[in-house]
Symmetry: C2
Subunit: 256 residues, 2 copies
DNA sequence: CTTACGCATTTACATAGGTTATGCTTGATC
DNA sequence: GATCAAGCATAACCTATGTAAATGCGTAAG
């Protein structure tokens, strides 16, 4: 303890620091928030469907999904939640959408009660900005998912998603230069991309044959062989997640 | 003027009032905000692609779309903006997603500069709540659109969308019991639902043949003949937009 | 060791939806 | 009032993707 930063806080400090300058006090707040931790097992629900919920969750480790069940029994996965992500902070008076959040792998989260969120935002412009930014980012990801589902074919959808995940994981240091651990079954991919399992299998094979990716179903290690080529082929635009677009001038504009 | 409420303010006052109790002062703020007005013509861009923009817009009248252009030239419409909607208030330091907003019909909007938003939120819990609620609602609509695209067929997609629009318009008094003015070409519907124009045409005919809807392409009046049946058939769940779920207890929980 | 289960894989076949092309209205423009 | 463009309609044909069913493999449980 003492002057050292707790391991759990690091990922969030790093993430926030990439676009705001955190003060000592703010770092201490983050450490305090990440002190307590809840663990969930694979397939366990983190937020139940239609739970009225204003608290926020910081995802420390593991993968989770946000999904909805369709009347005919199908499931649509709406988004992936990765380490460093913040979720659940809808702050709505009531939950409009009956979506659920479920752990895909063992997961650790830090829960921040609603009152605490308000308190933190009142006392720190930077942390309030961080929340705002997380919200905007989440929305950008949802919108990109809509485009993926509406205007791309299976091959492009898969390529696009795999690139997005690589990119997002890299931002929190959970991926190599071109490979990462992908804990998704073909069923999960199908429910994400609006495809059948069989067709995901076919398309994955095509990606392998085209030497776009390598994927070992045993180790679950995915390697993207030629990012450039795949981005081109799948119509992937990195900038939609890029914080590098953010210059300090921008920050000053917004804050000042 | 004097004690009368300006016509333009009414729709927003009504909307907000359905879930918070506005004070006299807050009503006056809304009136002030809706005093100035910008007009846009059909097909004119309201927010340009990747414009760094933190201001909010109140949509007074007309229909607009939020859309993205795909590398291969296609267009995906992400959402519809209807009278009473608030949009553009991303407050992000930089715009993550390169989407644009365009008028579909002649449109009137009230622009609220970024500084003013912050100011208003600081001074009124209710109006701040209103913004929060608008954001949550927008997200719920996006998520529902993802499910529509990912897990429903053409018939269900169309039915589902037409019901959502009916429902949303009714909430701002712009629709009858089961009919409304639908200023959308089949091309716009196609770009929204991830379908081809031809297939939208086919599916629309099927909906007409099944006596689910009546649609006169001349007058653009859409009538949903049997809401119950169509909701069933399209897997539409009204509650996802329902503010009636909000009891005063809820509000007290959240605020107190 | 044996069974059983989850997941990936593959084949054969079915179909929803895409593509191309052609007319038909209607309303705007000269 | 001829021409043109936008939008709707419909037909013929094509293909991406879904469905069903069988097989194999690896791992966990008995």
């Amino acid at each position: 303890m003492g002057d050292t930063i707790s391991t759990d806080a690091e990922i969030f400090i790093a993430k926030f620091s990439s676009y705001v300058d955190l003060s000592e006090a703010e770092i201490r707040v983050i450490e305090e928030l990440t002190r307590d931790c809840m663990a969930f097992d694979e397939n366990q629900d983190i937020i139940q469907e239609s739970e009225k919920n204003a608290s926020a969750y910081l995802l420390q480790s593991g993968w989770a999904i946000r999904y909805k069940i369709v009347p005919n029994g199908g499931r649509q996965i709406i988004s992936f939640l990765l380490p460093g992500d913040i979720f659940g902070f809808r702050e709505s008076l009531f939950d409009l959408s009956d979506d659920s959040v479920q752990a895909l792998t063992p997961v650790r989260v830090h829960r921040i009660p609603a009152e605490k969120i308000a308190d933190i935002c009142d006392n720190s412009t930077n942390l309030s900005l961080a929340l705002t930014w997380a919200r905007a980012r989440e929305q950008a990801i949802l919108m990109e998912h809509i485009v993926r589902l509406g205007r791309r074919n299976a091959y492009e959808r898969l390529g696009h998603l795999l690139l997005e995940l690589l990119h997002r994981l890299q931002l929190v240091d959970k991926a190599g230069r071109s490979d990462y651990f992908l804990p998704l079954t073909q069923e999960v991919l199908a429910d994400t991309l609006g495809l059948s399992i069989v067709h995901v299998n076919r398309t994955l094979r095509k990606l392998r044959n085209d030497r776009m990716i390598e994927l070992d179903p045993q180790t679950r290690r995915l390697k993207i062989i030629d990012q450039e080529a795949l981005s081109e082929r799948a119509g992937y635009d990195q900038t939609f997640l890029d914080q590098s677009a953010l210059t300090q001038d921008c920050v000053n504009d917004a804050v000042g």
